[in-house]
């Protein structure tokens, strides 16, 4: 019963959040200076042509009426039509989603596979007052350098020294898996730099907190080997903050993918939305942001469930929400 209540509560709060996001994004795209008609019709169009275009897309109606129409359509599963390509936005997003999903999942995999061992290693090797400067510098750099700077640098270097990898081109996995990997490894690596650093830092702090617990001291006293202690006592107890972080990182990476896809010219959701913003293609921007918000909400729910499994004291049936 408590679980059912929890699900209902989360569904309701998710719906309210999405509604809030929809209002914000709808207002934001219309507050941007430069309208669709000015942008796509160019300088040569007459006032009558601009008016005709506004009428065709309902842009001449009051904003709240436009919002109502859009919301009703979205509720019915219709994300609208791109005003540029005249293609249904839902279909276009679906066509581009595999690129973004692959990019993001690869970046998450790199973050976990590199960040967690790095964090554990630096925590276990940490000595009071000594060392770690190089690690701090590297992780500091990792969280400080924006994706567009690092991405541009990588594009520049690898366009000259390809090393079997490619930039500026995209090959779908289904068409040629090897070529697909050659085109996506670099963007995924760039996208993961920030999250690897944060994951390593968080893991290190979590592991160090666990290392001072009495049960670890007891295990040391029993003479258990260090890696057995890490495996049996430390990892599970340090996992909660790391799992929470990885969940939120996925949402963060979706935002980063927007930049990385643009820099590496990958035909994903991110580059689609960036170009739509530039041309004030309202339906595409609204749908893209709503999709990102939806992924963020779903990730949060999954994190809550997973945290409950890892640590029942924090789980949904314990009446606490992470």
């Amino acid at each position: 019963m408590r679980l059912l209540m929890w699900w209902c509560g989360r569904a309701l709060s998710s719906a309210v959040t999405l509604l809030g996001v929809s209002v914000l994004i709808f207002a934001a795209v219309r507050l941007m200076p430069g309208g669709f008609a000015e942008t796509v019709l160019g300088p040569f169009a007459t006032a009558a042509q601009r008016a005709e275009l506004a009428t065709r897309y309902g842009l001449d109606q009051p904003v709240f009426v436009q919002y109502g129409h859009w919301l009703a359509a979205v509720a019915g599963g219709d994300l609208g039509v791109s005003m540029i390509s005249r293609a249904p936005v839902g279909g276009e997003l679906l066509a581009r989603l595999p690129v973004t999903a692959e990019l993001t999942l690869l970046a998450v995999a790199v973050s976990v596979l590199a960040g967690v061992p790095l964090g554990v290693l630096t925590a276990v090797r940490a000595r009071p007052g000594g060392g770690g400067a190089a690690g701090r510098l590297l992780s500091g750099l990792g969280v400080s350098v924006p994706e567009f700077v690092l991405g541009s640098l990588v594009v520049f270097v690898f366009s000259r020294y390809a090393l079997g990898l490619e930039v500026g081109r995209w090959v779908p996995f289904g068409a040629d898996p090897a070529a697909n990997l050659a085109t996506i490894i670099l963007p995924a690596a760039v996208l993961s730099v920030f999250s690897v650093s944060v994951t390593a830092r968080t893991t290190r702090d979590a592991v160090m907190n666990v290392l001072v617990e009495p049960y670890v001291t007891a295990a040391v006293g029993r003479g258990e080997p260090p890696w057995a202690i890490v495996r049996h006592h430390v990892l599970r107890n340090a996992a909660t903050p790391v799992v929470t972080l990885v969940g939120t990182t996925i949402a963060y990476l979706l935002g980063g993918a927007l930049i990385v896809e643009h820099v590496f010219n990958l035909p994903g959701v991110g580059s689609y939305v960036v170009q739509a913003v530039g041309r004030r293609d309202y339906a595409v921007v609204q749908a893209g942001v709503l999709l990102a918000a939806g992924v963020f909400i779903v990730m949060n729910v999954l994190i809550d469930l997973l945290v409950g499994v890892l640590d029942p004291r924090l789980g949904v049936t314990a009446g606490r929400r992470a």
Partner: protein, 540 residues
Amino acid sequence: MRPIRLACGVTAALLAAACAATDGTGAAPASPAAQETVAPGYLALADDKLPAGGALNVSVHIDSGAATGYDPQLADVASTWQLLSLSYETLVTIGPDFSVQPLLAEKWETPSPTEYVFHLRPGVTFSNGRAMTADDVVGSLKRLLASKSVWRGQLGPVESVTKDGDTAVKVTLAQPYAPFLAALANVPAAVLPMKEIGDKSLDPATTLLGTGPYVVQDHRQDVSWTFRRNDRYWAEGKPAADTLTVTIAPEEAARIAALQNGGTALATLGNVDSGSMLAGAEDVKVVTQATTDFYYLMLNTRAAGSKFADPRVRQAVAIALDQRQIADVALGGKGRPTAITPAGLPGACDPAALPSAGRTVDDARKLLADAGAQNLSFTLSIFNTEPAPAVAQVIQQNLQQAGITVTIEQLDEASWSGKVYGKAPADFDAALSWFAGYADPGMVAKWWNPETAGFNAGFMRPDKELNALIDAANSGTGNRAQALTAACAKADTDAQMIPLVTRPATVAYRADALSPSLYATEGYGNVLRLVADARVKKSR
């Protein structure tokens, strides 16, 4: 965390920009670099001894993104003309010296200054296999004349279009009009399959069906176009490449990267410094194609309390501008000062002979003082695409010499468009933009008449005398050179829209993968004009 990331990012970007913007000496090039031509009028000529076939990949920065779709007659930007020209053709075309050449019309006659008879090339079919007829030509021109197309105005005073037998078409003008053939040579005047449009089996806004060398196989908006060769194409042996993929890559670095690693064989570049970045790249050849497109400065005379209502203030701005410096510093020496008739076109005015060219900064200061505008300051609105910011900075420095303070307002293109064209009267002080220069010296001059152009009526007041001079220059009667000179001088004195410098196009290609043909100067912004000739040496 964010402020640190932002600070690092800004620092790195500034360093990168500084490295890219200087040549180590800080000195600006003294004069335009001479273009290396392989034959008169050509930057490159495809080697027709190379075997035909293969897949050709090219990268461009922008897709056609018009709300009007792909209807050639409604296309009004060069990026759309470029793509549509792969599938559509016109009666005539433009040669490397801007002469009008046959295309779908194999020849034509002008029995009188107002009559043109076009004899259609035999054996031309649309890509669906149906033969092109005189009815298609007549229908296409009539449809264009009845449309709201921008190009309708460029065709001039067409009185009638009729069939002259089954293989000829006669066009009668109300009065002689000099740019008529040049206007027929651009994509909006393409011959469309009128039978299919008439029976509604084809919507030209969504489907490309022409007589051109390539047929669309696939298109993903903002991602790519894939074309296959039109096996029914009338010109023997053309197109040479079997497939043509046009990848849309908005980021310049991605286009450069694809070029360097062989992912693309030809790419258009926007930044004048990109050629230097590719200087050490093996097998990559970078050429600068001159175009008749040019940058111009708009001074808003229609805003309430306009700072430019007094012509003396506008003339002072025109005098203080140093077009040569803009070309050298902002465009790396690759642009040319121009009047309203684009430099590079036969018959264009000499910008050095304009009234403002012979005057000094002191003259500008005196004009400002006479107008009571000694402390003139204004905001210059520009879009953020290179090299507009660099052009704006040179303008700012030029005008500072005359005591004019310019604040540069850099906007994304959509915001800029909204500000400049969104309402009338427009509420900007000054703005920077560029025009497509076309292929006849009188064509773009027509945009100096806001009653004809329309788009600039929000910030420009019509000048009867100037309009009459432009019309006289295009009338096809009298001494055209004299008429163009008079129109250029009058536009210079009016100075509501001040022409600055031509806008070069940088093209890079893999010499080991491609043997292309490229004009040295292009009138309709079409880098892919001769793509049907290009020979693929190796495909990826």
